[in-house]
Amino acid sequence: MPEWAAAPAAWLILIPLLWATLAFLFGPRWGGRFALFGITVQSLCAMQLVAALDSGVTQVLPVGGWSAPLGIELHVDGLAALMLLLTQVVALPLMLYTRAWLGAADRAAGYVWPLCGFMLAALHALFLAADLFNVYVALELLGLCAVALVAGDGKPQQLRAALHYLLVSLLAAAAYLLGVALFYAAYGTVSIATLVAVMDAQPPFAVVLAGTLMLVGLMAKTALFPFHFWLPPAHGSAPAPASALLSALVVKASFYVILRLRLTVFAEGDLTLDWLLAGCGGAAILYGSWRAFRCAELKMLIAYSTVAQLGYLFLIFPLLDTRELALAAAALQMVAHALAKAALFAAAGIVLVATGRDSVAALAALAGRLPVTWFAFGLAAVTLMGLPPSGGFLAKWLLIDAAVAGEYWLMVGLIISGGLLGAAYLFRILKRAFAPQASAAVLKPVPRIMEWMAFLLAAASVVIGIEATAIVEILGLVGST
């Protein structure tokens, strides 16, 4: 293999930037093709990255040949590689779905393709980032892409949701950047690896404040309870393919940054803070599930379910003593939720195209028709409820194992009851499948590829519950720099 091709991490940044720009230059007709081709190549890059992984070792790639602290480095370890691979696995079916969606909805394709491309580039940049300021730029790129995608068709509620999302996102970014500024003032560097080397056991107050600011900013971007308020309107009103991308990947990225920082710069940890995060996570599970249960709109219900499911991720922070177990649980939860949530939003989009309505009640008109979509709903719901056999179940099983190892029985109870609450709101959707054919309501034809892509994502979220060895192996030992 020529040497230039042996830099998959670099190509993972450049390829989406390139195809996104080309999609803008050549217009929407070509955009879809560029996107599909680009993501196919990206998938190969991600696989190459995984193949080159060395368990427990973090690969360091200095950008421009300048190592930290002068330059910016990219770090690749199991967790990063897994997230990069996940991004491709979710994005490829969603792009196929989006192509059909744009055709079915008969709307001007606008700037969907370039935005998706830049969004993927930003995600890749975040997963590879090892520099606090670089994280800031990538987060902003990601946030603006997300906001532009939420604004989608320019309907008033979309614009309103997008604007609020943008304001929260900017506020969060400013808090994060202030934290970075304090870090730089204290240590003269923003490279994570260098910081780990030079930080003292007793950091000055400025650094504690910096860490808090960054954490709050990232929590707001992840929509962790009580900063969740922007998410349901944004994800609920955005066009379905955009909602799928946002819920599946975008919110995970800022969680990933929190996790990354916790494992490196804040490796010492702070028990109170860890439990605070877990507490917020627990509250998110309960509150999100309850709101989802009360929701009349289908996509809003799914969006609240995202709020709840993100809560599980934050439960791992007090459990990080059992490092592999907790990390495996978080990774599996991210993978399972990304696949299942993408499938759910994709299926909701199909309902929207077929019936023109976005309500749980509209589902009754679909009973007995569109079976593939129903199975997508069903399989994805099984994953989200955490019932076996599914990836969501495996994640919860591992999470419970980690909680039991620490003898945190309250958390065990919370995880189990969270699953029951999930079942409560998801069966509200599923039982509509069995309603007697209410009317001979005429359904708009739905391109089959949309149905099958939703099904594919949902099926994948279930299959990883039976065959997850590969995921754990990729994860390996997460490098602590």
């Binding site: 495996a328 009973a367 007995g368 079976p371 199975f375 099984v382 019932l387 076996p388 056999p389 179940f393 495996l394 099983w397 591992l398 419970i400 194992d401 039991v404 003898e407 065990v412 109870g413 189990i416 009851s417 699953g419 029951l420 079942a423 069966f427 039982k431 499948a433 069995f434 309603a435 007697p436 519950g465 039976i466 065959e467 997850a468 060895t469 995921i471 754990v472």
Partner: protein
């Protein structure tokens, strides 16, 4: 992969694969669908017969699949698993035949038969599970696969019944999960081993072990319809008759009873459980369930509801047998696992026939059905007599061994419970038989859908299954001493469980 690993996998696949294909089939492909269903059921039976001979000769079957390092889906086909698998597979074949006849021309049949196959797959998985993780996976899968069958008709009543069913079973699942967690935190990954995995822990953790036992038994007891966790069963009666037959005789309640057997014998170990002092309370709960179910059955006018409460009562015979320390009780409980299945499925087939053929749903409307549908009514009568424990039927064998077990365990109140139950059984079954055979039929049936032609009182596909299971009820009683009879098999299991004594 050698044949010892391939056979159990093939048994699972023989219903899973047809099920998945059926989902994809269009509604109109009746022939292909029926063919797939029946072929799967027959293949499964053949595979099981091969293994029956193998296991009797001492062979072991099983395979493991690693989900993630350190967590395995593990399957084993031991004598106990085979007892349940044989029952399920045999009755599945008959129920499939029956369901093809019953649902002829109704909508959503692809969906129905797909979930039907998944349901049996889950049951087989429960039977073959070799550790608690695997057991739980299939236990929850069973919930998911049966829900669509319960709400199949889609009426408001069906959806409400489905909600209740889900509420009970998912809560039960959560209890099981909690129980699994608490035993795992003590004993690591829990494999099912004869004599009990936890037995080596000794008295040290008695408190937590008792709590875990209660959690596991209560969670599994939801499916086994132990009082007071039986509330879902009468509501699930809204389902079509083949589903009721499946729920009551083959899959759900049996999975619950079977799960309790596994927990008592192979997680805790019967001797260890006796030492913990948890068997005696379990026996009381079982006895309470037996009496309560029978009492409630007395007052039900709707035939299927009466049968449902009868199930509540009868399934606890199994649990009572398990909870009585000693090999004879074990034999009684295990043999009733099979006998109750055969008898109850006969009753439900017959109830379905009355409803489908004549539109008779209530006991009060059954006057003279014996004259209009003699064959069905004969099958019904045999099964009902079996339930009462009449001589020459399967029920008599069960009760005989249960009484022996009670005697051996020194539980002198148990025979009284069994006697009271028989009396109550008679009190709610005999009036039905009286009406069916001795009273005059009404001038017109409420909704006669299938006309009688000579001997054929209803459709062949509806008539044959109850006749076969009715005969089996007699056969299991008359030929109980034969080598491959359920009784002989239950004694084999008990011998292997208790090692030293041959009952």
């Amino acid at each position: 992969m050698n044949s010892a690993q391939a056979l159990p996998l093939a048994v699972l696949a023989s219903s899973l694969v047809p099920g998945l294909i059926i989902f994809a089939l269009p509604q109109e492909q009746v022939m292909l669908r029926s063919l797939l269903n029946l072929a799967g059921a027959v293949v499964k039976l053949v595979l099981i017969v091969v293994m029956l001979f193998g296991v009797r000769a001492g062979a072991t079957y099983g395979f493991n699949h690693e989900v993630i390092p350190g967590l395995e889906l593990a399957f084993k086909m031991d004598a106990l698993a085979l007892l349940f698998v044989t029952l399920s597979a045999g009755l599945w074949l008959l129920t499939t035949v029956y369901a093809i006849g019953y649902l002829e021309g109704s909508p959503h049949r692809s969906r129905f038969f797909g979930f039907f196959s998944l349901c049996v797959t889950a049951t087989i998985g429960i039977a073959m599970a070799a550790n608690l993780f695997t057991f739980f996976v299939f236990y929850e899968l069973l919930t998911l696969a049966t829900y669509p069958l319960v709400v199949h008709r889609g009426t408001p009543a069906a959806l409400r019944g489905g909600n209740i069913y889900l509420g009970y079973t998912l809560l039960g699942g959560a209890l099981v999960l909690t129980g699994i967690i608490s035993v795992r935190s003590l004993g690591g990954p829990i494999e099912f081993t004869p004599g009990g995995t936890l037995a080596h822990l000794g008295e040290g953790h008695a408190g937590q072990l008792r709590v875990a036992f209660v959690l596991l038994v209560a969670g599994i007891g939801v499916k086994a319809a132990l009082v007071p966790l039986h509330g879902w069963l009468p509501h699930a009666m809204v389902a079509p008759a083949p589903v009721s037959a499946l729920l009551h005789a083959v899959a759900v309640v049996k999975a619950g009873a079977f799960g309790i057997v596994r927990v008592v014998y192979e997680v805790f170990g019967v001797e260890f459980a006796q030492m913990l002092g948890v068997l005696q309370p379990l026996a009381w709960v079982a006895a309470l369930t037996i009496i309560w179910g029978s009492l409630r059955a007395l007052t039900q006018d709707e035939l299927k509801r009466r049968l449902a409460f009868s199930t509540v009562s009868q399934v606890s015979y199994i649990i009572l047998g398990v909870a009585m320390f000693g090999p004879a009780g074990t034999v009684g409980g295990l043999v009733h696992l099979v006998h109750q299945g055969i008898m109850k499925i006969t009753l439900f087939f017959c109830a379905g026939n009355y409803a489908e053929t004549l539109g008779v749903h209530k006991v009060s409307g059954m006057n003279g059905v014996g004259r209009r549908m003699p064959a069905t009514s004969v099958a019904f009568s045999i099964a009902a007599l079996g339930m009462m424990g009449a001589p020459l039927t399967a029920g008599a064998v069960s009760k005989h061994w249960l009484n022996m077990g009670a005697d051996a365990a020194g539980l002198y109140w148990v025979p009284w419970v069994l006697f009271a139950s028989s009396a109550l059984n008679a009190a709610y079954f005999l009036p039905i038989l009286y009406r069916a055979w001795l009273l005059r039929p009404p001038p017109a049936w409420p909704q006669e859908q299938i006309a009688a032609i000579g001997w054929r009182e209803t459709a062949w596909l509806l008539l044959l299954p109850p006749l076969i299971t009715g005969l089996a009820t007699l056969g299991a009683g008359v030929f109980a001493g034969f080598e491959m009879s359920p009784l002989a098999w239950a004694r084999l299991i008990a011998a292997r469980e208790y090692m030293q004594v041959t009952p």
